[in-house]
Symmetry: C2
Subunit: 434 residues, 2 copies
């Protein structure tokens, strides 16, 4: 800007003072800062949340996509509707029916991944200083979105059965009517690796209904359970007006297509379509029709079974290695599906402070503080088993265990690491490592 | 919501009172309301802004996409970077060089169509009640985005040479420091069909530089001129810190991919990446790599020449028909590229009031009021020649001329239609008819 030249030593951003107030809340996440180092081949990355796309039937998907363009290309490459393709919305209802959800395609909006659904729901509901209730810890990408709309996050404690109902009641009491919705990931939580028990689902729903608080149920991993059929969704237990449900093909098919969806009460759905049109005009028609063809012509549930087998084997590799190798005092959750193990270090250690030494030892993880809006989680870390092969996972845990041992030695010699602290901040997610 | 059941006669939206303040500004556009009728086969639609995708080499594009997935599918179907693929950003710089822009790939952010770029720029710059300067008329999708962030639009008059510099000076004086940026479409304006002259580009840039106002240059149609090489972009005349430039492959390749971009000052680019990650995590990797392969292996500039030939012929068909058939007192702009002719009806007529009669006569257009944030444009309408074939265009204009004749007869008999008015509102765009 002509009149706002940066002055040496003052600021390097000539636009400081010109941004919207919300822009101050946008900062790079723990995950993104990590990406450059974690992607080096010599580093075992237990940091990323990338599905194992190499297991897809790439020849069949390629042929399907080539045929789609050759035969219906003028439509597939054209603008589409803001709400999304009708046939895809019908198929999405069939996918949700696997978790007991009964829904009309008219109440579904196709989105650019479920991240866009999160963005749109927050956009239409949250004024600055509104409260969002979210699990402690919670998905880093959701925290970034809430921060970008200047919403305040109030965390709600979890245990091995997921969100604690009593903690939810207390959070609602404390925030006294300011909460717009409860954001929850009931299945194979990212990052906590736990699931909300069947009984608690009813209880959590009843608490929110009584308080007049919408439930925002984010369910990207629901079909990726290792032990039997999916648990009924919260949306399957509620009326149509109590829950906004988010789904995605990123983990059951492919994240590179960016096809997700939101199922919402009818009046809310209308607002979401308007907000999506203002945001991206329409989701990519090509990607939507490719998902339609994939669901209609391929054994997509068989492919989900393939993924489940792969991730189960990797989960086992990680849990076995943790049990065998991690020093006493380290604890972790036991996921029954999904991608993540949430690990707590022995007292006195700090996962963020330890991170550079882990990178030096050629292993990467995500420090826990990125998954909280309030600076909690210094002893915690997220370990992912979705992408590396089992031998690499074991090697990664071996390296990590060595780093923790060395930290414990330092602690015994010099005392706690609390002084070597680093700052926590609310963050936007890093796509490479969602 | 449990405690907010709708009461008959009061409201049908149980969530009224729960939405964010910004949501009140989200209403369906003139264009969207029109879509259902305009897409009926018996109606000649001069309403839509859909590129003629049937002219693409669909077999080649299909093969390219099939090969991409078969050979590099694990990468193409994976998450990508929030900023977008590096090779694509390099190629985007080569595309922009055709209009004289010198830029670094590091300052480019790939977006989900240039609509997302509009959304992100508005998100990081506009607080409620900030002012955006925009041409009169302006792109309906941009007005919807500005409204969704509660920004106030101040229109700036145009003539056959585009934005009027003196009107811009006056608008800046009147808004006294509240303007965050000037939003302008310098080439083959949507909807006005005019272009900003070479001399005025320098003048507009100088005015904004002097006032410390960023120029937001939206250029989806720049390569689709009918008469000779492209005019140098405003960004090609400025320093790197004065202009944010938006581009798109929607009109030069295919809108169904939703691949656009924003070139921004470096500090702004960083904020845009954070905002995009909070919004969609990352743009679809598959679509980006498909554009890379298309640009690298196909004669894409030859294909742009094919599009230019098609649109030139259709422009001629429309202008000839307007000249031959429209009643005296009707005027229109003469586009030298792009998709649109902006038409002004004889005094006393109202394009919005006339619309149902046009639909009855089986011709559709977009009433002008949708392209203003302030209720201007009642005598105006947007006519598109991009999608229908020349014979259909002539037939459409013939029908439209008949409707205008009949309106003039009514006017002579009963007086002006001003009483039969309809409301204007700021609107979100309709993707099908961008």
């Amino acid at each position: 800007m002509g009149q706002e030249q940066p002055q040496a030593g003052v600021t390097l951003d000539a636009f400081t003072g010109r941004y919207a107030a919300r822009t101050a809340g946008m900062t790079a996440s723990e995950i993104r800062a990590l990406f450059a180092v974690a992607s080096r081949p010599e580093v075992v990355s237990l940091a990323g949340g990338m599905p194992y796309t190499s297991a897809l039937p790439l020849d069949s998907v390629g042929k399907l996509m080539g045929d789609l363009i050759a035969t219906r290309g003028a439509q597939a490459l054209q603008y589409g509707s803001g709400q999304g393709d009708l046939r895809l919305r019908e198929l999405i209802c069939e996918v949700m029916a696997l978790e007991g959800v009964v829904a009309s395609p008219d109440d579904v909006v196709v989105t650019v991944g479920s991240q866009q659904a999160l963005d749109l729901v927050t956009r239409i509901f949250c004024d600055p200083d509104d409260v969002v209730l979210a699990e402690a810890p919670s998905y880093v990408g959701a925290l970034g979105t809430f921060a970008s709309y200047q919403a305040e996050v109030r965390h709600v404690a979890m245990d091995a059965d997921g969100l604690q109902p009593e903690a939810l009641r207390e959070a609602i009491r404390e925030t006294g009517g300011r909460a717009k919705f409860l954001y929850t990931i009931p299945n194979f939580h990212n990052p906590a690796g736990v699931s909300l028990s069947d009984a608690r689902r009813d209880e959590v729903l009843a608490i929110c209904q009584e308080a007049g608080i919408l439930v925002l149920e984010d369910n990207p991993y629901g079909l990726l359970g290792f032990d039997g059929p999916p648990v009924r969704a919260i949306r399957a237990r509620s009326g149509t007006d109590d829950v906004v449900y988010l789904g995605s093909f990123s983990k059951t098919f492919a994240p590179g297509l960016r096809v997700g969806w939101v199922l919402a009460p009818h009046a809310v759905r209308e607002k979401l379509v308007l907000a999506s049109e203002a945001s991206v005009l329409c989701p990519p028609q090509l990607n939507q029709l490719a998902v339609v063809d994939y669901l209609e012509t391929q054994d997509w549930q068989g492919q989900v079974d393939v993924f489940r087998g792969i991730y189960r084997e990797r989960r086992d590799a990680m849990l076995d290695a943790l049990t065998q190798l991690m020093p006493r005092g380290t604890t972790w959750t036991v996921p029954t599906g999904g991608f993540y193990v949430w690990t707590t270090l022995p007292e006195g250690l700090d996962a963020k402070v330890m991170q550079p030494r882990a990178i030096t030892a050629r292993v990467a993880y995500v420090p826990g503080i990125g998954f909280y809006a309030d600076g909690q989680g210094r002893r915690e870390m997220r370990l992912s088993y979705c992408y590396p092969e089992p031998d690499r996972i074991r090697e990664g845990v071996r390296r990590l265990a060595g780093v923790v041992e060395a930290e414990l030695d330092l602690l015994a010699t010099f005392g706690p690491t609390a002084g070597r602290s680093s700052s926590a901040a609310v963050q936007t997610p890093a796509p490479d490592m969602a």
